[in-house]
Amino acid sequence: MTIPVADLADPPKPPMFGERQRFMLLLIAPAVVALIFFQIVPILTGANASFRDWSLHDPKYTWVGLKHYWYVLSDPGFVWTVMPNTLVFMAVSVAVSLVFGLGLALILNRQFAGRAVLQTILLLPLMVAPVVAAIMIRWMFNDQFGIVNVVFEALGLPQQPWLAQRWTAFGVILVADIWLWTPWFALLLLAGLQSLPKEPFEAAAIDGASRWRVFRYLTLPMLRSVMVVCIVIRGIDAFRTFDIVWTISAGGPARSTELFSIYAYIEAFQAMNFARGSAAAIIGAIIIVVLAMVVFRLLNRWMEVSK
């Protein structure tokens, strides 16, 4: 039962810039100003750079057209390692943190002693500076002094050089990302759960429906709109993930866990070619704009169908 969203007193024949339009524009005016100065201008500067000969140390600012775009798109590393890594990372991270977050939200949606404490503990990952947390995780997975291998040894499991192998390193950055973002999902989904109306659940309880059926046919469908927004926003952010991956693996060993933001950073700031880094960033932005739109549409359609 969603509340209908209505236009406020729509006049029958609105003038082009009537009072209503003026009101709308005024409502967004402060946000528009902030966006123009601190997002659109810098982004356009970066976009402008991507068509020029613009190295960090010796910018010549001469126009070179699509040269940098062509370089990035014809770089086998970008096409065959970086993009697949990024997409796998995004899909796994979002899916797993969604499932974990939903589970935790369901637990936190009950009443029990210690609930507030549990909730605070689960929010801890959001409270630590992510870069410091990432360094901590990097040390925890060190093959010599890391606590993970110490525990593995105690349990008789084979110790791993976690960060020196591609797939274990990829696993570590995924674990870190999931750890960091599960609470975010849990928080938003819990808020969604608590805003659901009580009546259908009471009716289901009277009918003696099993927990699973209640979850499957009541909770999940009603929570879908929250989930869709969470998935899309988090998907976009996961696609752009930079700092924790940079700190834990820096794309290594040998570029095998490189994500697209890391690629752009290496080109722009390590290789000092700001133009090429910007081109890579814009290519990534275009991919995620299209991808997120498709996902958003698909999820929305799936919602409509299953209602």
């Binding site: 406020l8 970066g46 009443q111 870069v131 002094f145 938003l188 704009v289």
Partner: protein, 286 residues
Amino acid sequence: MTLASPALALPPVRSGFFASLAPGGAKVLFALATIAVAFLFAFPVLWLLLTSLRPESGVYYVHRGTEFTWHNYVEVLQQENILKAFFNSFAISTLATILSLGVTVTSGYMLSRFRGPIPNGWFSVIYVLRCVPYISWVLPLFFVTRQWGIFDTYWGLLLPHVAVHICFFSWIMKGFFDGIDPSMEYAALIDGCTRWGAFFRVALPSAIPGMTALAILCWLYTWNEFLFALMLTAHKTPILTVVMAQFVHELGMEWHLMSATAMMALVPALIVTIFGQKYVIRGLRV
């Protein structure tokens, strides 16, 4: 699928964690699993706390040896910048929160209450801007803040943060207003209230729980943010995360000081979260 083992069946308890669960071994296992998950989530933070209490020689081999010390905290507190950085970080997080909410509450309201080309266009703009990676515009941001003479000031860090929050917050804000019945606003309009009056007197008060929720997320995000802080500040406006980053130098890292600073920085974040979380849960409705 119940585990019929009588040994696992608990005596009925009136209150507490277990009482909320139906009797039966599966439930106990479930409770234990919950505790295990909580432990796993807290573990990196606990380990960081332990690290920060170890003497310098034990911050990597944390599990080896049992000496503990306050020395790292004392050493951090002796840094002349640190208190200033705490103050600056607190001020910037708080101001960024207030400003971000101020500009997104109206924007979210607009997205929720109107249909047509303006809201659609606005939504597309914030959606596309959300997709552009920071890497491509943090350096231009450095140039423009310098150009406008606000580099290394509060404004130079605050305003970019506000801009970053606009997309996500407007989207979520729209959700809050979607959940609020607009009929009260109609009534107000019919009673002769202006649109602004209806917004301020009717819609805004009912959105306060949601705003509180976003305020906490925004505060935590700004408090812990690294990239902008590193790029957009220098010595005049020390920020906590930047002070932490300075413990990393070309020849290695002062991990003992970094972990201690991070634990100290956790305290305000914890306080904000604890006091705010009941509002977070009550308020967030997407």
